[in-house]
C-alpha cells in the first residue's frame, strides 16, 4: 500500500522500507528494486560489485541499470534482463538463482552467485524484489 503524500510524493511501501533497513545491516551484497524494476537501494557490499556508491548513483531506473551493468553467463553469453534472477523474481514472481558474470561501472568482471526473491506485501501485491550477490561460484 503506497500512500501518496500531500505533496504528491509516492511514499515507499513499508515492506521496501524494512527491506532497505535490513539490507543496510547485511555484510552480503544486496540490491532492492521496486515493482517497476527500478533499483531503489543497494548496500555497501554491493557498491564494491557495481563499482559505484549508492549515494553517487541514487535510484537507477529499470531501463538504465540493464545498460549500466554487463551481465552474462559464465561462458560469456549475454543474459537478458528477464532471465537474470532479479528479472525472474519481478516478472514471474518466484525466487530464482543463477551463476553469472557481472561487469560493473569500474570495468572489473566478477563471477557471482545471484539469488533473488519477490517482495509480496500481500498475496497479489508485488512491491519489489531483493537480490543477493555472492562473489565466486557456489560450491
Amino acid at each position: 500500500m503506497g500512500v501518496p503524500s500531500v505533496q504528491g510524493r509516492q511514499q515507499k511501501n513499508l515492506v521496501l522500507i524494512l527491506a532497505r533497513e535490513f539490507a543496510s545491516k547485511l555484510a552480503t551484497a544486496t540490491f532492492i528494486a521496486d515493482a517497476e524494476g527500478n533499483l531503489v537501494f543497494y548496500n555497501e557490499p554491493a557498491e564494491a560489485i557495481l563499482g559505484r556508491t549508492f549515494a553517487e548513483a541514487g535510484d537507477i531506473r529499470a531501463e538504465e541499470w540493464a545498460s549500466l551493468f554487463k551481465i552474462e553467463e559464465l561462458d560469456g553469453t549475454p543474459v537478458p534482463l528477464e532471465k537474470n534472477p532479479g528479472g525472474v523474481a519481478l516478472l514471474e514472481r518466484r525466487p530464482a538463482h543463477r551463476e553469472l558474470r557481472i561487469t560493473g561501472l569500474d570495468g572489473v568482471t566478477r563471477t557471482i552467485s545471484a539469488t533473488a526473491f519477490p517482495l509480496l506485501a500481500r498475496a497479489e501485491e508485488l512491491v519489489g524484489m531483493v537480490a543477493i550477490f555472492w562473489e565466486g561460484q557456489s560450491p
Binding site: 500500500m1 503506497g2 500512500v3 501518496p4 503524500s5 500531500v6 505533496q7 510524493r9 509516492q10 511514499q11 515507499k12 511501501n13 513499508l14 522500507i17 524494512l18 532497505r20 533497513e21 543496510s24 506485501a121 500481500r122 498475496a123
Partner: protein, 269 residues
Amino acid sequence: MRYGGNTSCVEVRLADGTLLVLDAGTGIRPLGLELEDYSAPIHLLLTHLHLDHLEGLGFFMPLWRAGSELHVWGPPSPTRSLEERIARYLSPPLFPIHLSEIPAQLTFHNVPDEPWEIGDARIEAEPVSHPGPTVGYRLEDDGSSLAYIPDHEPALGGDLRALPPEWISGLGVAEAVDVLLHDAQYSEAEYETKVGWGHSSVAAAVDFARAARVERLLLFHHDPLHTDQDLVALEAQARELWGRDGVAPELAVEGATIELAGRVAAASG
C-alpha cells in the same frame, strides 16, 4: 493519576456529527457509557489487534444494543479475516460470549489501499512499522487534519534525520497534519534495550514529527510503568529536542478535548 491509565482509545467527532473511534483499548468503556442515546452508525478504526488496542471492545455498551450499527475497520492479514482475528479474543475461553452472539449489527472492513470517505471525512490508512499488521490513520475533515499512529517504530527503518521522507514509515499519513498523536513510549535509555518491540523513544517521535512537518505533536501511548513524574520528564525532553519554534510537544492526557479549527474534536480515552 494525572495522565490516565486506560489503554488506547480516541473519540473523534466530525463536523457533520459522525462518530469515529480510534482503537478499542480500555478507554472505550467509559466512552460507551456516554453513548446511551446515540443511534447513528459508529465507525471503529483499529490500528492493529494487540490486546491494549482491543481489550475494551467487549465492554463497549453499543455492542450490546440490538439497534446499534458498528463498522469495524482494521488492517488486513494474509491469513485470516479481520472478523476471525477479533473473534479469537471475543470468544471463550478469553471472553464468555462469542462474537457471533453480540446483538449489535457489526460489519468488518479491511482498510482500503486508497483513501476513502466516512461521513464528510477523507480517511487514509498506511501500514507502519510495528510487529504484525498495523496501520496509521490520517483523517481530514473540513480543512482540518489529524494523524493517529499510536504504536510505531519508524527508527527501525534507519536514522530518521538521514532518510529521505519517502523512506520513513508512516510519513505519508502524518505529513503536515494539524495534530499528530504519536507513540512516544520510551526514554532513550529504555529504547536501547527495546529495539524491535515496535515503539518509539521520545527523540524518535520528535524526529518523526519534524520530518512530517506537523503542526502539533501529542506524545501518546504512555508506558504503564512510567509514573506521572517520568512522563513530565519525557515531555520536557521532547520540548528541548523540538526547540523554540512552533507549538511545543505535549503529553496526551486522558479525557482531554482538542478542537481543530473548531471543526474536528478528538478526546483521548
